[in-house]
Every structure is written in C-alpha cells, then in structure tokens.
C-alpha cells in the first residue's frame, strides 16, 4: 500500500472509473468483461466463417459448379480456415479462460488485468485488420510462371476474391511475391502476426495467474481440469507462437523487402516454410482441442454425479499430449521428400499421441460409467464431443501409417478427420461450455428444449456433412478443389455434404435464438443450478463484479461438491442436511461483502496501445509510399507512447473514493 503512495499521481488521463456503459467496456480490465467481449467477437467470426463454409458448399454441391469463381473459392476456403482457427476457436477458448480462470481458482482477477485487456484489444484490432483487406482488394493482377504476368482474372477483383487466397497454411512459394502479388497474403501474414502477439500476452498472463493467484488451499492437483488445460495451452502458446512469428516475419520480408527465404528461384527453400509452419501448426492443433477437453472434463462429472475418473491421469495425459505435440509436425508433410528415417520417426511419434488421447477418452467413459446421468444440454454436447472426437482420433491413427498417408494426404479424408476433431471435438466442447456456464454470465438458464433441439440438429447435420468426406477423400477427391468433373462420381455425396452444412447452420440459428431469448427470459438459475463441483458455482449468478465476496479456502478437489455432499457407507454421494442452508447463506454472503473490495481501475492504455499495431502493419504493406512510412511512424508512436503512459499510470486513481481502499496489496 505504501508503494502506491510513492507512485506518480499525474498521468495523461485520469484513470477511468465507470463500471457500466460503453466506456466501461472500452476501458475495462475486468476479466469477466474481457471474456464476454472475446466471446461475442469470436462468435461474430464464427458466423462469418460459417457463411464462408456455406458458400464453399454451394459451389461444391454438384459437379462443375459455377456459383463462385476459382479466385473466390480459393479466397473462401483460405479465409474460412484462418477465421475458424484464429478468429473463432482460439479467441472463444480465450473467452472461457478469461472468464473462468480466476473464478475457478478462487481469485478476483488475473495477475495482470491491464495486459489482459491489451490482449483482447490486440486480438480485436488484428481480426479487423485481417478482414480489412476486403476494402483494399487484391488489386494487382496475378503474376504467374516465372514471374511473367498471367492473364488477369477479373474474378480476382471481386469483393470475395480479394480476401487472402493462399490457404491458412500459406505454403510457399505460392503465397510468395511472385505467385500471390496482391496485398491479400500480406494481410494474412501480418494479421496472424498481430493475433499471435495477443495470444502470447494471454499465455504469459494465464501462466502467472495459475501459479500465483490460486486461493488458499488450491494446490495444483486440486485445480479443475479446465484450469490445467488452460495452463497447458498457455505453455503451448508460449513455446509455439515464437516459431510462427519468425516464419511470418520471414514470409513478410520475402514479400515486402525481397528477401528470398522461401523462394526457390532465388535459392530459398519452400520446404523450410512447411517445417516452421507445422512446428507451430501442430501444437496449434492442441491449442484448439485442449480447452474443449478441459470443458468436457468439467461437464461430464457434474452430470454423471461422480468425480472425474482418473483425474491425475487426465491432467498428465493433457500435458503429455502437449509435450508430444511438439514432436510430430512433419506428419503434415509426409508427401514432401523426407528421408525414410524421418518418415518412420514422425509416424511413430504420431502414433504415440494416441496413447494419452486414449487415456483421456477411457477416463471420460469411466466417469460416465456407473453414474446417474442427467441429459441436460451441456451433457449432450459433452457426450457428443467424446463420440465425435473418437472418430477423429481413429482416422488420425490411420494417417500415422505413413504409406497410407501418402494416399490420404491432401484429400477430403483429411478434411473429414480434422473437422471431426475441431468441430466434433472443439466446437461441440465449446457449446457444452456455453450452455453450462451461461447461468454464470446471466443468472438465467438457457432454454432446455431449444438447447436439445440445437444439439440434435447440429449432431445430425455435423455427421451428414463430415462423414461422407471420409469416403470422398478415399475415392480421390483432393482438397481445396474449386470444381470436380462429373465423371468423378463425387456429385451425390457432395450434395449430401452441402445439405448437412445447411443443417448445421439451422442448428446454429436455434442456438442464437435460444441465447438471445434466454438472456432476457430464461429461468432464474439461482446459485447452483447444475449441482456443480467447482468453486465458481459457490458465488451468486451472475457473477458479482468482485467475484468472491470472501476468497474461498479450498480443502479438496471438487471443493464445492464436498461442501454439499458426503459419502455413505457404500461410498455413494450423500447430500449433507445443511447443504441447502449453506447455499442460501452463500447466496447472501456472496452479494454482501463484509469489507470494501479493491478492484483494479479501468485504463485507457490497453486499447490505445493495441490500436497502434494495425497502423504499423498497414504501413509495412504500403511501405513504398510516403503514407505507409508515415503510418509506421504514427503507429509506433501510439504503441510506444501508450506503453509509457501505461508505465506512469498510478495503480489507482487517487480521487476514486472509498470503495477501493482495502486489500490493495493482496490484489497485486
């Protein structure tokens, strides 16, 4: 507390103070508000990415489709991938982590609240930057073989055709300066660079939070599995993002400054890009799936009314998957010229990953086994996750048989595989989490009938969409294909796939209606609607802005459950007689803190600093003109200037009144 007094009290801005209204969202450092903003922003991109997928599916509904031009199609599949991975699954996972991490470890906020806000705003501006390419268009005509101008394809000039079209993998030299001369790929490279910074900041923040901010008694092996997976993902991000940052810089330099890292024509190596990309790209796969595994590990025990089976095994299996995930990247490259030794080694390491993955699946089955299973919507999605993820995992094992993969790679079989993992896995898990924690956000329940309708529509649509792709791939339908000829016989199953895709879209519409409706009209949830196990349910809903009126003292794994339940002679759960009274008491005490609670003040600097980065990126793309150079300068001044302001900012606005007096030292 004395440290605060010595800090300078003058700064550019007074620290903002509003807790409600527009400016409270702009300046917030509250992990819950940041989580909600992450969630809504990600969902907007989910809709955009989904619409892109529907366009792709209309084009492929029959042979020789002419709904999209080739340029538009290539832009759509590339942007669909970029959007779903970087602008939906990653940020929506960040939304869960932001919202839940402090709640589940019994803290009032993350370790660095302003950095948390910075992370969100960088993501937000990075995403807008990536899509802003649509206003600049891919104006340069395509240049083809040997750097000679090819024929201008007018479709490149259309709105959709101007989006990044090098695939989310941006393979070189196709995404290099000679073969993708327009600005679209630059936007992809620099956009990912900006998004990477956001994720890195989150990663550091979450790691420090997990290690330093846990409530008393919350030992590492008493943490909920979702928190464990958050920690593992944070480390994955921390170690893998620098790799892609280097690769993205090299790619940008190739394009902007004529370096030739990946350009074979100048002695560069296109395969080097693949190594760097997948060294990041494979850990990225686990960055996408582990949070969903964490969510499912929370939901299954609650609705089975049993502890998670093999908690420690599931935790360590998650760590094991992450660790092994750094040693399998070349299985994305089995058809490039690796030596047999390398091929065999990466085939074997890939197989090894199946072991920890299997442990998780069997332990989830063990959790359900012998339980008393309630089929609320979150549980349906969690069971759907396990069932669908198994299919994706098994097709994954068939890829590890290297010679088989020579046939399967680059076909729809792969598309089927990773959608079973990322949609059947991650996205089903995410929906389980959305339904499960909705009461924490709103104090209301989502409508169960609509929720179940959503699940079944999505489950059927999902399988109709992606199951036939296994067949199509093994029948030789290559990926990223704008058209297929009638004699390939791909038509009927592609039509089924397209119908499936629209079925999924219908399910999502049901969800959106349910969400909007339930927010206003849903049944009040009370404090513990699911009879849950973890401490985030021991505080009122919606979560008070200070989280815990009194930080909990944790005595066991599933602490909240053990507050309510004991075991009878047979080891069956037995509700304590005073459990209902205790919950009523928690409801009351949670809303009425006995002492004033200090919370970090909002700040203008995170959003200000974040706004500098896209300016620098625009400047790099248009660096040949004066405007570009000016933009780099302005962007740098804003970013560095706000860092300075940030550093000078008092921890607390001195005039901000009585509420923020106490517990300062504790929060920092």
């Amino acid at each position: 507390m004395t440290a605060t007094a010595e800090r300078p009290t003058t700064t550019i801005f007074r620290r903002p103070e509003s807790i409600t209204g527009f400016w409270s969202w702009i300046t917030t450092v509250d992990h819950k508000k940041i989580g909600i903003m992450y969630g809504y922003a990600a969902f907007v991109f989910f809709i955009i990415g989904g619409l892109e997928a529907l366009l792709l599916r209309i084009q492929l509904a029959g042979p020789n489709g002419d709904f999209l031009t080739a340029a538009e199609y290539n832009a759509m599949f590339s942007t669909h991938g970029l959007t779903m991975i970087f602008l939906f699954v990653m940020p929506v996972s960040a939304a869960f982590m932001n919202y839940l991490l402090p709640l589940m470890i019994g803290a009032r906020d993350v370790a660095f609240p302003r950095m948390n806000a910075l992370s969100f705003w960088i993501f937000f501006f990075g995403a807008i930057f990536l899509y802003s390419v649509i206003f600049f268009g891919d104006v340069t005509p395509p240049i083809g073989t040997q750097g000679v101008p090819g024929n201008i394809d007018p479709s490149d000039q259309t709105l959709l055709g101007g989006l990044p079209d090098g695939g989310w993998f941006l393979y070189q030299p196709n995404a290099g300066p000679s073969f993708s001369p327009g600005a679209a790929v630059d936007f992809a490279l620099l956009g990912l660079q900006i998004l990477g910074i956001a994720s890195l900041i989150s990663a550091v923040n979450f790691i420090v939070t997990v290690f330093n901010m846990r409530a008393k008694g919350m030992r590492l092996l008493r943490m909920p599995v979702f928190i464990w997976m958050t920690l593992v993902v944070a480390f994955l991000l921390l170690f893998s993002l620098p790799i892609i940052a280097v690769a993205l810089f090299m790619g940008t330099f190739d394009r902007a400054f004529g370096t030739l890292f990946f350009q074979a024509a100048g002695g560069g190596d296109p395969i080097l890009w693949q190594h760097l990309f997948w060294l990041f790209g494979h850990p990225e796969v686990y960055i996408l799936i582990l949070p969903a595994m964490g969510i499912v590990s929370e939901v299954l025990p609650v609705f089975s009314r049993k502890p998670l089976f093999g908690y420690a095994a599931i935790v360590f299996a998650g760590g094991g998957i992450a660790f092994l995930g750094f040693g399998v990247w070349a299985h994305h490259m089995f058809s490039s010229a690796l030596t047999p030794v390398a091929q065999a080694a990466f085939g074997l390491s890939t197989m090894t990953i199946a072991i920890p993955t299997g442990i998780k699946i069997f332990n989830w089955l063990g959790t359900m086994w012998g339980g008393r299973i309630r089929f609320s919507t979150p549980m349906l999605f969690a069971i759907g996750f396990v069932a669908m993820f198994v299919i994706g995992g098994l097709s994954g094992v068939t890829h590890s048989v290297v010679p088989s993969d020579w046939q399967q790679t680059d076909t729809y079989y792969i598309v089927a595989h990773f959608h079973y993992v990322l949609f059947g896995g991650s996205i089903f898990g995410i929906f389980a989490g959305l339904y499960y924690w909705f009461p924490k956000l709103t104090g209301r329940m989502m409508n169960e009938a609509l929720g179940k309708t959503h699940f079944w529509i999505q489950f059927i649509g999902f399988n109709l969409t992606f199951a036939p792709m296994h067949w199509l791939g093994l029948q030789g339908m290559v990926r990223r294909t704008w058209r297929y000829a009638p004699e390939t016989n791909f038509g009927p199953w592609n039509l089924a796939v397209t119908i499936g895709a629209f079925t999924i879209a219908l399910g999502i519409l049901v969800f959106m209606f349910n969400w909007t409706w339930s927010k206003r009209k849903g049944q009040p949830s009370g404090l513990d609607p699911w009879d849950a196990r973890t401490v985030e349910w021991s505080i009122p809903n919606p979560t008070p802005h200070y989280n815990f009126a009194e930080t909990p003292v944790v005595t066991s794994l599933d602490h909240f459950w053990h507050m309510k339940y004991t075991e009878d002679d047979e080891g069956r759960a037995l509700r304590k007689e005073d459990a209902d009274d205790m919950i009523a008491a928690l409801e009351h005490s949670g809303r009425n803190p006995s002492a004033p609670i200090h919370l970090p003040n909002p700040s203008y600097f995170p959003i200000l600093m974040a706004s500098g980065l896209p300016l620098i990126a625009y400047g790099i793309i248009f660096h040949q003109g004066l405007a570009g150079k000016l933009l780099i300068f302005v962007g740098a001044v804003i970013a560095i200037g706000s860092l300075l302001g940030w550093g000078m900012e008092p921890l607390e606005e001195p005039h901000s009144g009585g509420e923020h007096e106490a517990e300062m030292a504790e929060a920092y």
């Binding site: 073989t145 030299p173 908690y311 058809s335 090894t352 198994v390 290297v402 296994h470």
Partner: protein, 385 residues
C-alpha cells in the same frame, strides 16, 4: 499380398468421344454391417451417425479411387490400410458401444441411487494405457517396414522426369528423347522412377492406383516409384493447392504392354509431318505459326521444302506442353478436358476460343481466334498423332 488383377482398360479403345464412366464394381470387403438400431433417442442418433458413415461406403467408385490398387506399390499401401481400418473400426465399436451402453444403463431415472464416488482405478487405467500401446506397436512395425521398403526407386527402374507447371504435368523420357504432357505413358510390369521437380509452385503428383503422393518442389528433385501390373488407363490429380486452377490440374497414367510401349516410343520419336498445301490442316498450321502459339509450344516438324522451319522451340520463358504428338493423347488442358458430357472437338473448340475462361489464370491467353481459325487449327492438330 493380393494377386494382381486386371486394370480396367478405360477409354483406350473407346475413341475420342468416349465418356469416362467406370463400371460399378462390387467390393465385398468394404461392406460393414451395422448393429441393431433401436431404443432410446440418444442411442438411436448415435447409431444414426454410424449408419451414415457406413452409407458412405456405397459402392460408386471414382476413377481416382484409392481402393483399386493396380500395381505392387499401391497394393502394399492398400495392404497397410485395411488392417488399420479394421482395428480402428473395432475400437470405434467398443468405445461407441460403451457410450451408448452408459447412456442407456446409467441414465437418471426415478429411484436410481446416487452413484458410488469412485475416483479411478489404477489397474483399469494401466490396462487402457498398455493395450493401446500394444496395438500401436503392432501397427508401427508394418508401417516402418513399409516406409523403408517403398522409399527408394529400384536401381533398374526406368527414369521419367515429371515437371510440374501451373496447371499441367510435363513428362520427359531422357533415355528416349521424348517430351510429352498430361498423359504419362509407361510400360506394364516395369518400375518407373519419376524424377520430379517443379517450374513454379509446389505440386503434388498422384496416381492413386499406382502409388501415393509426392511433392514437386521448385529447385529440388524428388522421386516417386510407379508400377502397374497390367495395361490400363489410370487417373491422377495434383494434390497440393497450387493456385487458381489447382482443381483442374489432373493427370493420367496410360500403361501399355511392353510391346505397345516400344511402338509408342518409336512413334513419339517421329517429327510431325507437314500437311499438304491447300488442305485445311495446312491452314491450321499457318494459324499455329502466325498467331503466337509458337511462343510457348514446341513442335518438332520434319524437314521439308515447303518453307516451314523444323523444330519449333518454345522460348525458355514461356513453356507450354510440347504439341508434336498432341493427338496421341486423349486429354488436354491439364488432363481436365474433355470432361464427361463434352465431346473432344467441342472441348477443344471451347479451349482454343478462350483458355482462361475454361481454366482460370491459364497462361494460354485468349488469342481472339475466329471460328474458322479454330476449325483449321483443330484440323491440323488432329494430324499430330
């Protein structure tokens, strides 16, 4: 290993207007039987998922199918795939069965007691760690053997150079001085070592019936083994996304009997004859010479006293397929044309009239040829056998 089976000789004898549909072939080994579909809603729909995936095993084959290996290498790969597929299917049935069983047996219903609060079971957990590890070890051994066995070209293999372009494959036969495109002609019963590189971006050469894929990398050389038991025509496709018209970059492998192959070699080594003056083909040759085609296309023309220069060579900068024996190939434009429902002449007319309209980004420009010029050109190109 399965005995060799005859490949379907497709299109070879059928003439140009052939429509390339394959006979529907029954494959008993691919049929999976389903468990009973019945009771509760969740169980029912879980099973529906299984049914859907089995429905997708309906027997309509594509000419690009990986399920009809026609040579020893593809056969070996096929032999690796199916055991793994069945193991995966068994695990699928066990796990989904356990899910369905749990959902039915352990669902909450009136009178059901609270469950026992089990936290785990060391023996069980060790079991389901060790068993998958053993299964994977069982898969690993043939995988590693397969990788090493299939890796390198046999020393006595015949080299054919494969060069990737946006968006067609070029083939060179260094031992025979032959240069061709789109259709890889090879003898049956002999191993071919495809020595591959790319002129521009990454491509991925794939003839599913003969082997898996291998990248064509600019500035590097990669190798792919190809061998077919019997004569036949096999389809291929570029696997890697290679720009605008990736989806139209196909390939064919035409496997001939050794005798036919030798005859083909001799035929391909001939220069093209000069058509008689005054014929439509002569007019077509004039179109070819005067409308810019020679910028990109090589044609070996025999020595003549008609003032036509022999050995027209494409410039190094622009490289299109060698057209000397254009008419000996049944497909063109990256083996995409003619597709089903389009006759050879229709397709060629459409192509010559405006190539980028057929194949977006095509480096063959719209030369603004008149219908008469196109007809003449086709008349001449038909002589390039």
């Amino acid at each position: 290993m399965k005995p060799s089976k005859p490949a379907v000789p497709l299109g070879l004898a059928a003439g140009r207007a052939a429509t390339y549909t394959r006979p529907m072939v029954q494959h008993p080994r691919r049929r999976r039987s389903d468990g009973p579909t019945r009771p509760f809603r969740l169980a029912g729909v879980a099973l529906l998922g299984i049914m859907l995936s089995s429905c997708s095993f309906i027997e309509i084959d594509s000419p690009l199918t990986t399920f009809e290996p026609a040579g020893p290498i593809a056969d070996r790969i096929d032999g690796l795939f199916w055991p793994v597929f069945w193991i995966a299917t068994a695990i699928f049935v066990v796990v989904q069965g356990a899910i369905v069983f749990s959902v039915i047996a352990f669902r909450d219903r009136p009178g059901r007691k609270e469950p026992k609060q089990t936290h785990g079971n060391a023996k069980l957990e060790i079991t389901w760690t060790v068993i998958p590890a053993l299964i994977l070890a069982g898969i690993a051994i043939p995988t590693v053997r397969g990788v090493f066995d299939l890796a390198e070209c046999a020393p006595d293999a015949m080299n054919i150079e494969v060069i990737g372009h946006q968006w067609w494959f070029e083939y060179q036969y260094p031992e025979h001085g032959i240069e061709t495109a789109n259709v890889l002609v090879m003898p049956a019963g002999q191993e071919i070592c495809a020595v591959m590189t790319s002129e521009d971006v990454l491509h991925n050469f794939w003839i599913p019936a003969l082997n898996g894929k291998r990248y064509l990398v600019p500035g590097q050389t990669t190798y792919l083994r190809l061998e077919a038991y019997e004569p036949g025509l096999f389809w291929g496709h570029c696997g890697e996304f290679c720009g605008l018209s990736h989806s139209l970059m196909r390939a064919q492998a035409e496997v001939l009997s050794p005798a036919d192959f030798d005859a083909w070699i001799v035929a391909q080594q001939q220069a093209a004859a000069v058509p008689a003056e005054g014929t439509q083909a002569w007019d077509g040759l004039q179109v070819f010479l005067n409308r810019g085609c020679t910028q990109c296309h090589t044609v070996d023309i025999e020595a003549n006293d008609l003032g036509i220069e022999p050995n027209i060579l494409a410039s190094d900068v622009f490289n299109g397929p060698n057209l000397t024996h254009f008419a000996s190939r049944e497909v063109f434009a990256g083996a995409y044309l003619p597709y089903e429902g389009l006759s050879y002449n229709q397709a060629l007319t459409e192509w010559l009239a405006n190539p980028p309209a057929v194949k977006p980004g095509s480096f063959m420009p719209d030369l603004g040829l008149t219908q008469q010029e196109i007809d003449d050109l086709i008349a001449w190109m038909e002589t390039l056998s």
